[in-house]
Symmetry: C2
Subunit: 399 residues, 2 copies
């Protein structure tokens, strides 16, 4: 059954808070110690000994606007399910097992993603983000304060390296590779981090009824060809490249956006991804050169800003091998693959050996109410996590 | 001196109210009787005899977002100035002279224009508009109620035909014909009323990072070619048509409009105008046919809605001749012309002989902070109104 409007639990809203409290309830029910850290991440710990090493796993519960029920939630719930399963089996871990429910993974509200995992890995600088606003003009600082956090101390969520031993995340694939190859579990090698641009075009607002067609400086007409250029060029690039590249004009802000006024100013947001960083950056250069042509042809000024430009993240080879071995040992068809989407694990990977497990999502649909992963896939994912914990934290572990 | 953000006095806001109260103050200062009608229009009357005929003039004080200082205001202030000038000349009118400050002329807030003059001419049906919302979700009904009006009685603003004898409006041209021909005063023959369409395109929202380029149903990519088609086709049409046609993709609503989500739904708003109604409607057919092609080529569904489709308004020939004669008698270079923009006079013209006087607006710029009409032009416009009133309402009037 699909909820027609899906789920909307934006970053630092009462909806995200309610989901975290539900996480806390379930964790407490299975006997885990829970706490919220200074950035708003919720932790649930199966603690055996404070001096023992801790292996961690987790994902997030926030969503985009009208998102699906699995992106993030699948990783949090399978982590809890794995612990419950191990408890039911009377498994006695020799390490502490932590489940992290990361706050604010999606960029839907503030244009900044993975705030919680950035904070844990000391990659969050509150001075750099404090003035960023959502579309209602509320700053991140205000939103986090209203969420009950102390803005001045959010960076204290950063953990010493020795406080964790490793990290794994399970996530729905949000693509179609598993479905198309018939694989049941994907083990991720690399994560494609986006380059994000905004393209601001300034023309001249004027009356739609009185300004003759050849007298206009219509900002939207000037920049509109870029929308199809990005699509067509990305299709072409994929014909001849080893790794896929995806590029999307995903946001538009039009000013004044009124029926009887010629668009005076337009801002397009573009998201470009590939695990091949060179391919990604070459594509940005193509966009720059096409935009220069548009600027030269039209009486407008165009400014390109780079919001984000990170190298792709390669995950730990040993973790990859272990997760693959565990999955195959369970008899699952397993695929080594890359991720086109960013996840909290990419931040955790900077500090700790980290792994990412994918389960199939139907037809690759995600960030949409019809997003779906089968209960069977969720169960297989849970089994992989259980088996991994048995190996890592059991008597027989080889780490 | 240009205010960088121009003026924002949207329909039924405290800003529009403040402008109306200022109008009331000035009118009272020069001894006019003032009142607000049931739809929120402000009236100022130089009353000589309640049984005498009334000639009316006026314009509006609301603006678009970040509009200029002259669109509307020029017509209200020159009307008051003409009365003041005639009073200073000790002119004794034999008819009542009314200045109407029409409420809510611009469609910027609700997508509905000339609400005040529609109400006066019994062209407003409150049932048809009551659920229309602004971008903050406030209905017209709510906004008018908050403005201090009684929603149930707004239609009582409609006037019996015999309560006015004629109506004139002065407005800035918002185009470049006067400037280019060197004419000082324009007398308008016809007003091009818009056809307004919304084009709603539904594709499929999905994750920008994980959905390969050839697996997308990007609603924005599908419909984007229409933006340039409208511009290019309108340019072509103008090469071979007697009357100009203007067409603009002026609004966009993108859903979900988030950096990491492929656009699932896009609504474009299009405004098409020409005094040649056939030309205008043929253009709509071209758009329909192009949209069908886009729909066939892409995996999206597209729905076209007609918001507005009115015939153009031809103003009264005798009024046109009188205003032209008056303007020429004053020695002004005078141009008979058409209007690409709608004005309150187009509603008044349905019930009463009506005329429209244009004064030049610099470089045709309007709905923009740099909108400008010179004091000299405003003075010439005032002189035309004074001379017209002298003839219409003086001893020597020939009506």
């Amino acid at each position: 059954m699909v909820r027609p409007d899906g789920f909307t639990r934006l970053s630092f809203t009462k909806e995200e808070k309610a989901a975290h409290l539900q996480f806390e309830n379930i964790a407490a029910e299975i006997g885990l110690k829970t706490r919220q850290d200074a950035a708003g991440n919720y932790w649930a710990i199966w603690e055996v000994d404070q001096t023992a090493p801790t292996i961690a796993m987790g994902s997030h519960l926030d969503t985009v606007n009208c998102g699906g029920g699995y992106d993030g939630a699948a990783g949090v719930l399978t982590a809890l399910a794995a612990i419950k399963g191990l408890q039911d089996m009377k498994f006695q871990p020799e390490k502490n097992i932590a489940v992290i429910c990361f706050v604010s993974e999606e960029s839907a509200r503030f244009g900044v993603s993975t705030i919680g995992s950035k904070a844990i890995t000391a990659q969050l600088n509150r001075r750099e983000i404090e003035t960023i606003k959502d579309r209602n003009g509320i700053t991140i600082k205000q939103a986090m304060t209203d969420y009950g956090l102390d803005w001045e101390s959010i960076e204290e969520a950063a953990l010493p390296i020795d406080s964790l031993e490793s990290f794994i995340e399970l996530h729905i694939e949000q693509g179609m590779e598993l479905q198309e190859t018939g694989a049941e579990i994907g083990i991720v090698k690399g994560i494609a981090c986006p380059v994000r641009l905004t393209i601001n075009t300034k023309g001249m607002a004027n009356h739609t009824g009185t300004t003759l067609m050849n007298r206009r400086k219509d900002a939207l007409v000037a920049i509109a060809p870029l929308i199809n250029y990005v699509q067509e060029e990305a299709l072409k690039v994929n014909e001849s490249s080893e790794f896929p590249l995806v590029a999307t004009v995903s946001t538009i802000r039009l000013h004044p956006n009124a029926m009887n006024v010629i668009p005076g100013e337009v801002e397009l947001g573009i998201d470009i991804r590939s695990v091949d960083d060179k391919l990604k950056r070459n594509f940005v250069e193509r966009i720059r050169s096409f935009v220069s042509e548009l600027e030269a042809k039209n009486q407008v000024t165009i400014e390109i800003k780079t919001l984000v430009d990170h190298d792709s993240i390669m995950l730990d080879g040993k973790m990859h091998a272990r997760l693959k071995q565990v999955s195959e040992a369970l008899g699952y068809e397993t695929l080594s693959m890359n991720s086109g989407a960013g996840h909290d694990v990419m931040n955790m990977a900077v500090n700790w050996p980290a792994g990412l497990i994918f389960i199939p999502s139907k037809d690759g649909v995600s960030h949409h109410p019809t997003e779906f992963a089968s209960l069977e896939s969720l169960e297989k994912g849970t089994n992989v996590i259980m088996k991994y914990i048995e190996q890592e934290a059991g008597n027989a572990h080889e780490s």
